[in-house]
C-alpha cells in the first residue's frame, strides 16, 4: 500500500503530481502538450519544420551500461540444462512447442520415420482418413516398426470431431488412452478437419490429445501453437488420394483481368457464429463485376429464421453458375463459414481465382512455410466495405504474379491428399533437422518443397532450379557415366570408342564407368588413356537403379548418361551439352520416345516409332542434372525401383516420369540422330537388352505402373528438336561449328 501511495497517478486526480517537460535539457513549454490535444494544426510551431523530434545538444547516456550484460550473464546460476528441463515441464498443453513436448531423440537414430498404428477390426475409418493413412504408408517416411519411429499417426479416425456428424468416432478418449504406444501423445500427429459443433464450433477435438501435434483445418491463430501444430486446408471427401487435377489456368491473359472482379457464392448464416461477415456481403455486391451471392436455403428450418433479404438473395443466387463464376473471376472472396476455413479456399486456388481472405484470426494452411502474400489477398472482416477498392488498386503485374502463384501452390501442395500429407510431414521434418531444412525460397518457388530435398545440399546453387534467382550461370562441365554390362574382351568394343568420344569433349570433367557386369573388373590398363580421369565403380548389387545412384564420385552438376553400346561423337556430346546449359532442369539428349493413350486397350502405350512428337529422351545418351540421381534414389518409392531392378528395364522411362513430374515440361531432343545403338547399326551385341522380345511389352506395362503411382501421366509431348543453328544449311561446311553432326 505504502509503495502504491508513494507514486503518482498522472493527471487523473489532479493531486500532487509533478510533470516536467523536457526539451533539450530545457524546461520546455506546455504548448507542446496542448498541441497534442489540438491536433497540431492550429498554427502552433514545430521545433523545426523538418524534425519533430528534439535534437539534444548534450550527449545522452547509452541505453545499456557497458558492463551490464556481462555482469548479468555471469551471475546466472541456473544451468542451461536445468533451464531446458524446466521449460519442458512448464510448457505443456496450449504452450506445447517442439522444445517442450517433442522427443527429438526418437528421430536421431533412424531419421524421420513415421509409424501408423495398425487398423483395428470394427473401427470405421472414413475415406478421407483412409487416404491420409495410405499416403503416409506409401511414402518414403513410413515404417511398420514402432521402435524405429520418430512420429506416430493414429489409425483412429480423428478427422471429423463434430458430434452431430455421422463420421464422428465415439469413445475416442478411452480408445486413445488404451493405446500402449500413446505415451501421452508424445511425438504423435493428429489430423483433424472438423472440430466443435453447433452453436459455438469450438476448436476442441473432444479428447485429450496430451502432447500430440495437431494437423488441423480451420485453426485459429489464438489456438495455433507455432512451430508445433500444422495448419492444413479443409478438403472434401472427393479430394483425390494421389495425382490430383491440375490448376485451371491454361494461359496468362493480358491484361490479367477477368469478366468479374470479385465473386462469392455460398451459404448465408442467419444467426450464430460466422453469420456477421456473410450477412454483410450484400453491401458490396453490385450485380456487375462484384457478385457476392448468398442463399439462406440450407439446414432444416431455414424458413423459421429467414429475414427480409432472403428471397431476394435466393433469386439472385440461383441466377449464376458457381463454376462459371470461378472461371471468370479475378478475385474470389473466401469468407469464414461457421469455422474459419472453408472449401472456397482450395476451390479458388485451383481456379486461379486469387483468394481474398475474409476470416480474421485464421492461421492459413501451411503458414509456417507458405508466403500467402504472394498468392492471396489477406483482407480484414472489419473492412469488408473497402475490399472492392482495395483489390481494384492492386497493380496488374501483381495480379499476374498472384494468379500464377495460386497455380504453383495448388499443384505443389494441395491438389491431392498425398500432397497435403507429405507437406505436413516435410514441415515437421524440417523442424526436427533444422540445420538441413528448406528455406522460404524453396517452399515458395517452383518446383516447391516436396521435390527439393534439402538433404541433397544446403546450397541452392547445387539444384537446377535457382540459377536465375541467384544470378548464377549454369554448370560448365559434365561427368560421363557409362553403364557397362558386358565384359571387356576386345579393344574395338563400342564402349571404348564411346569413352574416347566423351573424354575428348571440351566440357568433360571425368568419366565414370559403372561396372554392372558379372565378370570381374578389367585391369586398369585395358581402359584407354585419356586426358580426363576415368573412374571405374563396381556396381554393388548390379541392378538397373544403381546407374542413378548419386555417387560422390560425380563431381560435376551435369551428368552425361550413356549406355555402353551408345554411338556418339564428341561433336554430338559437345552440342548436347551446350543445349543442356540452356535447359539445366530438363533431360536433354538423343534417343526420343513417345507415349500415347491407347483407346482400345484403355491404357498408356509406348512407342519407339518415328513420330512427329516425343515425350521422353532415353538416358542411354542424355544429359541431365546430377540432382535427379538423388531424387530418383530418395524420392521414388521402393516399389517402383524394385520393379525396374527385377525387369532390368524401364529405368530410363521412370527417370523421364520423374523429371517431367518435377518440371511439368517435356525433355529436349537434340538433332536429327535417331540411330544411336550398335545394334541398330547392323552389328550385334549379344547382351543387348533391346533384342529381347519381352523388352517392349515390359516397357508398356512399366508406363502404366508408373502412371498409377504418380496418380496422373506426367509426361508431356514436344514437337520440336534442337539442331545447331546452321544445321544442313546450304553454306560451306567450314563455317559450321558442329559439322560432324551432319556427316552421320
Amino acid at each position: 500500500m505504502q509503495a502504491k501511495k508513494r507514486y503518482f497517478i498522472l493527471l487523473s486526480a489532479g493531486s500532487c503530481l509533478a510533470l516536467l517537460f523536457y526539451f533539450g535539457g530545457l524546461q520546455f513549454r506546455a504548448s507542446r502538450s496542448r498541441r497534442e490535444e489540438h491536433s497540431g494544426r492550429n498554427g502552433l510551431h514545430h521545433p523545426s519544420p523538418d524534425h519533430f523530434w528534439p535534437r539534444f545538444p548534450d550527449a545522452l547516456r547509452p541505453f545499456v551500461p557497458w558492463d551490464q550484460l556481462e555482469n548479468e550473464d555471469s551471475i546466472v546460476h541456473i544451468s542451461p540444462r536445468q533451464k531446458r528441463d524446466a521449460n519442458s515441464s512448464i510448457y505443456k498443453g496450449k504452450k506445447c512447442r517442439m522444445e517442450s513436448c517433442f522427443d527429438f531423440t526418437l528421430c536421431k537414430k533412424n531419421g524421420f520415420k513415421v509409424y501408423v498404428y495398425p487398423q483395428q477390426k470394427g473401427e470405421k475409418i472414413a475415406e478421407s482418413y483412409q487416404n491420409i493413412l495410405a499416403a503416409i504408408e506409401g511414402s518414403r517416411f513410413y515404417t511398420s516398426d514402432p521402435s524405429q519411429a520418430c512420429l506416430f499417426v493414429l489409425s483412429l479416425d480423428t478427422l471429423d470431431r463434430d458430434q452431430l456428424s455421422p463420421q464422428y468416432v465415439h469413445n475416442l478418449r478411452s480408445k486413445v488412452q488404451s493405446l500402449h504406444l500413446w505415451n501421452n501423445g508424445r511425438n504423435h500427429l493428429i489430423f483433424n478437419l472438423y472440430s466443435g459443433t453447433w452453436p459455438d464450433y469450438t476448436e476442441d477435438v473432444g479428447f485429450d490429445i496430451g502432447q500430440a501435434m495437431l494437423a488441423k483445418a480451420s485453426i485459429s491463430t489464438e489456438n495455433f501453437r507455432p512451430n508445433f501444430d500444422v495448419s492444413i486446408p479443409l478438403f472434401s471427401k472427393d479430394h483425390p488420394r494421389t495425382g490430383g487435377e491440375r490448376g485451371f489456368l491454361k494461359f496468362n491473359t493480358i491484361p490479367p483481368l477477368r469478366k468479374y472482379m470479385l465473386v462469392f457464392k455460398g451459404k448465408r448464416y442467419l444467426t450464430g457464429i460466422g453469420s456477421d461477415t456473410r450477412n454483410a456481403l450484400y453491401h458490396v455486391h453490385n450485380g456487375e463485376d462484384v457478385l457476392l451471392l448468398t442463399t439462406c436455403k440450407h439446414g432444416k428450418d431455414w424458413q423459421k429464421h429467414k429475414d427480409s433479404r432472403c428471397d431476394r438473395d435466393n433469386t439472385e443466387y440461383e441466377k449464376y453458375d458457381y463454376r462459371e463464376m470461378l472461371h471468370n473471376a479475378t478475385f474470389c472472396l473466401v469468407p469464414r463459414g461457421r469455422r474459419l476455413g472453408s472449401f472456397r479456399f482450395l476451390e479458388a486456388l485451383q481456379a486461379a481465382c486469387v483468394p481474398v481472405m475474409l476470416s480474421n484470426g485464421w492461421e492459413l494452411p501451411f503458414s509456417e512455410v507458405i508466403n500467402w502474400n504472394q498468392a492471396a489477398v489477406i483482407g480484414d472482416e472489419r473492412l469488408l466495405l473497402q475490399i472492392p477498392s482495395t483489390i481494384r488498386s492492386i497493380h496488374q503485374d501483381k495480379i499476374l504474379a498472384l494468379r500464377q502463384q495460386t497455380q504453383f501452390l495448388w499443384e505443389a501442395y494441395f491438389s491431392s491428399v498425398e500432397k497435403i500429407v507429405l507437406t505436413t510431414l516435410e514441415i515437421i521434418q524440417d523442424r526436427i533437422f533444422k540445420h538441413i531444412s528448406r528455406n522460404s525460397l524453396i517452399w515458395n518457388k517452383h518446383p516447391g518443397g516436396l521435390f527439393v530435398l534439402p538433404q541433397y545440399s544446403s546450397y541452392l546453387g547445387d539444384f537446377p532450379y535457382y540459377y536465375a534467382n541467384l544470378g548464377l550461370k549454369p554448370p560448365s562441365k559434365f561427368t560421363a557415366v557409362i553403364h557397362a554390362v558386358t565384359p571387356l574382351v576386345s579393344q574395338s568394343q563400342p564402349v571404348l570408342k564411346l569413352l574416347m568420344a566423351a573424354a575428348k569433349s571440351q566440357y568433360c570433367a571425368q568419366i565414370i564407368v559403372l561396372w554392372n557386369c558379372d565378370k570381374p573388373l578389367p585391369a586398369k590398363h585395358r581402359w584407354p588413356a585419356t586426358t580426363v580421369p576415368v573412374i571405374v565403380i563396381e556396381g554393388e548389387s548390379k541392378v538397373m537403379s544403381s546407374r542413378f545412384l548419386p555417387y560422390d564420385n560425380i563431381v560435376t552438376d551435369a551428368v552425361l548418361s550413356l549406355d555402353e553400346d551408345t554411338v556418339l561423337s564428341t561433336t554430338e556430346v559437345d552440342f548436347a551439352f551446350t543445349v543442356w546449359q540452356s535447359f539445366p532442369e530438363r533431360i536433354v539428349g538423343y534417343p526420343a520416345r513417345s507415349h500415347f493413350w491407347d483407346n482400345s486397350k484403355e491404357r498408356w502405350g509406348y512407342t519407339s516409332k518415328w513420330t512427329n512428337d516425343y515425350s521422353m529422351v532415353l538416358t542411354g545418351a542424355a544429359i541431365y542434372h546430377k540432382y535427379y540421381h538423388y531424387l530418383y534414389t530418395h524420392y521414388l518409392p521402393a516399389s517402383l525401383k524394385n520393379m525396374v531392378d527385377q525387369l532390368a528395364n524401364c529405368e530410363d522411362i521412370l527417370m523421364n516420369f520423374l523429371v517431367s513430374a518435377v518440371t511439368k515440361l517435356p525433355p529436349i531432343k537434340v538433332t536429327q540422330k535417331k540411330q544411336y545403338k550398335e545394334t541398330m547399326m547392323g552389328q550385334t551385341s549379344r547382351a543387348s537388352r533391346w533384342a529381347d522380345p519381352d523388352h517392349f511389352a515390359q516397357r508398356q506395362s512399366c508406363m502404366n505402373t508408373f502412371a498409377s503411382w504418380f496418380g496422373y501421366m506426367p509426361l508431356i509431348h514436344s514437337q520440336m528438336r534442337l539442331d545447331p543453328v546452321l544445321f544442313k544449311d546450304q553454306v560451306s561446311i567450314l563455317r559450321k561449328k558442329y559439322r560432324d553432326i551432319e556427316r552421320l
Binding site: 503518482f8 545522452l60 547516456r61 550473464d73 499476374l400 533444422k434 534442337l722
Partner: protein, 630 residues
C-alpha cells in the same frame, strides 16, 4: 490491432501513420524520476521515426502510437511506475495500437524473455523473445543493438575461408557451455577458438574491446572476421548483442539458444544466413557445420553481412524495419516481397525473376493474333495477309496502319480471309505502334510480321506457334541475329551474317507473349522507346533486350529459314545490307546495353526444327513437311 483511420487502406501510399508522444519527465511524489531520462539509442529511434514517412504529428490521424518513455532496457526501469506512466498516455486505451521498443527484457534471477512492464494490448518490439512470449503476427522480434556498431570501424571482409572454423567470443558464458566449447576445442584443435574475458589487462584498456585465449590477446570485434562460424549462445537473456557483431564481421552465426525467436524472423529468412543448432546437440556442432558446402558458407557470409547492413547496423535501421513489418501486416497486398527483404544487393542485381514464371504450355486451341505493321506497301501487305491466313492456328489478323497521310484501302479490296481482320489506324508514324497492347489482341500469342515477309510457309508459321507454346515466355522467331564484342573497338557489334550462334530474333517475323507488348509500351527503361521512335530503327533489338532482361532467357530461332522477302534476294535482304544501317544497329546495342546497365542478351547455338526435319520419312506423314531450307 484496431483499424483506426491512420491504418485504413484510404491512407495514401499504404503507409501507416505513427504518432510520437512528446517527451515528459515522470517523477514520483518525492521527485525521484520513474525512469532514467531518455537514452541515446531511444532518442535515435524516435528521431528516425519522426524523420520517416510514417510520422504524423496529428494524433487523430495516427494508426500507431509510440510513447517517449524509454523501455529499451528493463534494468533501468521501475516496472510498476513505468506501467502507470504508460497508462497516463492520452490514447493509451489499454495499449491498443501502441508500440513499445525493448531490447533487454527481464531481470534476475529468471530473466523473462519479454518486457515485464504490464503492457496489455500494446505491441512489443522486443529483443530476446522466446517462442512462449512471442505473439506471432503481433509482436515484432528485433535485434539487441550493439553499441560497437557505431563505435568501431570495421571494413567489410569478403566471403571465403578464414583462419578459424569456429569461434566463440562471448565473455560471461555459463560454465556448462564453456565446458562443451572446451571439449570441441580439445577435439578439433586450432580450428576452434574459444575466447574469454581478459583477466590481466592494464587499467586503461577498454575490456569490452579485448578477448583472450590463455595469454593471447585479441581485438574484439575484429577477431570475428578471422572466423567462418561464430557461436551465439544464450546468456541471461536469449537475445545477444554479439549476434549483431558477428553478422557485421561476415561470420556465420551458429545460434545455440533454444526457443529463441530470431530478429525480424517474420520476414528474414535466417536459414540463408545462420545455422540454428539445438542446445542438446552442441557437441555435434562441428560435424554439422562441416557438412555445409563451401559455396553455401560463402552465401551465408554474404547474407549475414547484408542482414547487418540492412537491419542491424543502426537504431534507425532497426526502427524502420520494425515499422515496415507492421505496415506489411496492415497492408499485406502491398507488402515488401521476400526478395526485397532478403536478397543482398549483388543477388538483386544479378538475379532475374521472370514475370511469366509458371511452367505452362498454353493450349493450341487459343491460337495467335498476327500483327502486321504497314505504311503503304499495300500489294505486299495483301500477299502477307493471304499467306498468314492459311496458318491453321491464326485466330485474328490485326493490321496496324501507320500512315497518317493515306487511308487504308476500302474494305472490299482487302483479301477475304477466314479469320477476323481488323485495321488499326495510328495517330503517328511510330515504330512502337507495332508493340502496343491493343485490346483487339485476345490471344496470349502474338505474331509480329512485317508487310514484306512473304516467304514464310504456312507450315513454318504453324510450327513457330507450336514452339512458342512450349516457350511462351520467350521470343520465338525466324530471322536470327547475333551481338558480338568487338575487342578492337571495345564495344558491342551487331552481326547479321550466317553464324553458328544467335542472341536475337527479329520481330519482322516472331511470336511472343502479349505481355511483352505491355512491357514495351509501359515499362521500357530509360528513353529507349522515344529513341527508337525518333530514329525509326532498332525496335526489334529493344524488344530482344527487354524480354531477355526480364526473363533471363535466350531467344528461340525456329527453322532454317533465312530468306524472307523474295526468293531472289540474297539472304541478307535489302535494308540490312546497307552499311550505315549496320552501324546504326551496332549503336543501338551499345546504347541499350548502357541503359539497361548490363548485356542481357543470351547467346545460344541451337535452333528449333520439327522433330522429323530432313528425316528420310514420307513427307505426307510429317506434321510440318514444308520447311524451307533457305
Amino acid at each position: 490491432m484496431c483499424l483506426w483511420s491512420g491504418c485504413q487502406p484510404t491512407v495514401p501510399k499504404n503507409k501507416i501513420k505513427v504518432f510520437i508522444y512528446s517527451l515528459k519527465k515522470y517523477v514520483d511524489d518525492s521527485g525521484v524520476p520513474v525512469s532514467n531520462t531518455i537514452s541515446r539509442e531511444y532518442n535515435e529511434l524516435l528521431t528516425a521515426i519522426s524523420d520517416s514517412d510514417y510520422y504524423t504529428d496529428d494524433i487523430t490521424r495516427a494508426c500507431l502510437f509510440v510513447p517517449s518513455i524509454d523501455v529499451l532496457n528493463q534494468n533501468t526501469l521501475r516496472i510498476k511506475e513505468t506501467a502507470q506512466a504508460l497508462a497516463q498516455l492520452s490514447r493509451w486505451d489499454r495499449g491498443t495500437n501502441h508500440l513499445l521498443f525493448n531490447m533487454l527484457p527481464g531481470g534476475p534471477p529468471d530473466y523473462n524473455t519479454a518486457l515485464d512492464v504490464p503492457r496489455d494490448r500494446a505491441l512489443l518490439a522486443g529483443g530476446g523473445f522466446s517462442t512462449w512470449t512471442y505473439r506471432q503476427g503481433y509482436d515484432v522480434s528485433i535485434p539487441v543493438y550493439s553499441p560497437l556498431s557505431a563505435e568501431v570501424d570495421l571494413p567489410e571482409k569478403g566471403p571465403g575461408p578464414r583462419r578459424y572454423f569456429l569461434l566463440s567470443s562471448q565473455m560471461a558464458l555459463h560454465p556448462e557451455y564453456r565446458e562443451e566449447l572446451g571439449a570441441l576445442q580439445a577435439k578439433h584443435g586450432e580450428s576452434v577458438l574459444v575466447l574469454d574475458k581478459c583477466t590481466n589487462l592494464s587499467e586503461d584498456v577498454l575490456s569490452v574491446r579485448k578477448r583472450c585465449h590463455e595469454h593471447q590477446v585479441f581485438d574484439y570485434p575484429q577477431v570475428l572476421q578471422e572466423a567462418t562460424f561464430c557461436v551465439v549462445l544464450r546468456g541471461a537473456r536469449l537475445g545477444q548483442a554479439v549476434l549483431s557483431d558477428v553478422l557485421r564481421a561476415g561470420c556465420v552465426p551458429v545460434v545455440i539458444a533454444d526457443s529463441y525467436i530470431l530478429p525480424f524472423s517474420e520476414v528474414l529468412d535466417w536459414k540463408r544466413a545462420s545455422v540454428v543448432v539445438p542446445e542438446e546437440k552442441m557437441a555435434d556442432v562441428y560435424s554439422i557445420l562441416q557438412s555445409i558446402p563451401q559455396r553455401q558458407i560463402e552465401e551465408m557470409q554474404r547474407q549475414a553481412r547484408w542482414f547487418w547492413e540492412a537491419y542491424f547496423q543502426s537504431i534507425k535501421a532497426i526502427a524502420l524495419a520494425t515499422l515496415q513489418i507492421i505496415n506489411d501486416r496492415i497492408y499485406p497486398y502491398a507488402a515488401i516481397s521476400y526478395e526485397e527483404w532478403n536478397d543482398p544487393p549483388t543477388v538483386k542485381w544479378g538475379s532475374v525473376s521472370n514475370p511469366l514464371f509458371l511452367p505452362l504450355i498454353p493450349p493450341q486451341s487459343q491460337g495467335f493474333t498476327a500483327i502486321v505493321l504497314t505504311y503503304d506497301r499495300v500489294e505486299s501487305l495483301f500477299r502477307v495477309i493471304t499467306e498468314v491466313s492459311k496458318v491453321p492456328s491464326l485466330s485474328k489478323l490485326l493490321v496496324v496502319w501507320n500512315n497518317q497521310n493515306k487511308s487504308p484501302p476500302e474494305e472490299s479490296l482487302w483479301p477475304k480471309i477466314r479469320v477476323p481482320l481488323k485495321v488499326v489506324r495510328t495517330a503517328e508514324n511510330k515504330l512502337s505502334n507495332r508493340f502496343f497492347p491493343y485490346d483487339e489482341i485476345e490471344t496470349e500469342a502474338v505474331l509480329a510480321i512485317d508487310d514484306d515477309i512473304i516467304m514464310l510457309t504456312s507450315d513454318e508459321l504453324q510450327f513457330g506457334y507450336e514452339v512458342w507454346r512450349e516457350f511462351p515466355d520467350r521470343l520465338v522467331g525466324y530471322p536470327g541475329r547475333l551481338h558480338l564484342w568487338d575487342h578492337e573497338m571495345s564495344k558491342w557489334k551487331y552481326e547479321s551474317e550466317w553464324t553458328n550462334e544467335v542472341s536475337m530474333v527479329l520481330t519482322g517475323a516472331a511470336f511472343y507473349h502479349k505481355y511483352f507488348n505491355y512491357l514495351y509500351t509501359y515499362k521500357m527503361p530509360g528513353d529507349i522507346k522515344n529513341w527508337v521512335d525518333a530514329h525509326m530503327n532498332c525496335e526489334d533489338i529493344a524488344m530482344n533486350f527487354l524480354v531477355a532482361n526480364v526473363t533471363g532467357k535466350a531467344v528461340i530461332k525456329v527453322t532454317p529459314r533465312k530468306k524472307f522477302k523474295c526468293p531472289e534476294c540474297t539472304a541478307i535482304d535489302g535494308l540490312s545490307l546497307d552499311q550505315t544501317h549496320m552501324v546504326e544497329r551496332s549503336e543501338c546495342i551499345n546504347k541499350f546495353a548502357s541503359v539497361f546497365g548490363t548485356m542481357p542478351l543470351k547467346v545460344v547455338e541451337h535452333r528449333a526444327d520439327p522433330v522429323l526435319y530432313k528425316d528420310d520419312f514420307p513427307e505426307k506423314l510429317k506434321s510440318f513437311p514444308n520447311i524451307g531450307s533457305l
